[in-house]
Symmetry: C2
Subunit: 122 residues, 2 copies
DNA sequence: TACATCAGGTCTCTAAAAGAGACCATGCCT
DNA sequence: AGGCATGGTCTCTTTTAGAGACCTGATGTA
């Protein structure tokens, strides 16, 4: 019922989503649509192959991302896409991305002010 | 401009927010309003004192949370609250919490199905 | 009077997680 | 033949998170 309760079953669903790589992957898949493994790595800047694989696995297990393999193709073709459930979350997380983008300058200003106060103290 | 770019300045603002403890703290402060340090620790289930202090510091520096000290009081009284900027983000992140709560059962079902397939394979 | 308790943190130590980079088999293009 | 791309995994190192002791000062409890 309440995500604030560590024992709440929804909590560990939340934990899978409340993660920078997961959120950025949802963003990429929403914006650019179906992508292969290596495309995703290039599109989600800074992600390592390890975290890419790990996060994709988690989201696949959660029914948020689908993984389709075409074994006949050479080189091997593996496509990742949002499931209908995943498209829903991706849509919900969009506002957070937009807000971040719009208010980043204000956050930077706040940081500068905070650091000035801290320096003055020292 | 683009959060997917690791070099984008908004990216590290995003990183501060795309974190389970940060999101849960915003949630708690939005739902329950101003709280003292120890109240927050009790309300955000499972958080350690260390992560509580660290996350609060980050959010305070970002201008999302305000910290007010009353040194005359005994025991010392320190109050944490959302700033206007913080109230905005907290509102944006609400949809994610709601979605998680509403769809958790579906995610659990997806996990069960995934694990069954994996077991069958093995 | 002595002891435990609360406040808001910090400090240290350990355990878990993230990041870097090598490695793999296969097949393409030059 | 050599180099690159595919989708990953494996190992090693560094970073991060978590557990728990400790601190100062006042207040309540026996």
């Amino acid at each position: 019922m309440d995500l604030l309760d560590a024992a709440c079953p929804s909590r560990d669903v939340f934990v899978d989503l409340a993660d920078k790589w997961a959120l950025l992957m949802l963003m990429s898949l929403r914006e650019r649509g179906t992508q292969r493994y290596s495309e995703l790595q290039r599109s989600v800047g800074g992600i390592s192959r390890k975290m890419l694989a790990q996060t994709l696995r988690t989201l696949e297990r959660d029914g948020i991302v689908s993984r389709t393999v075409n074994p006949d193709a050479t080189p091997p073709l593996v496509l990742y896409a949002l499931t209908p459930l995943g498209a829903e979350v991706a849509e919900e997380t969009r506002v957070l991305c937009t807000w971040t983008h719009d208010r980043a300058a204000q956050v930077y200003a706040a940081r500068a002010a905070y650091d000035r106060r801290a320096d003055a103290q020292a």
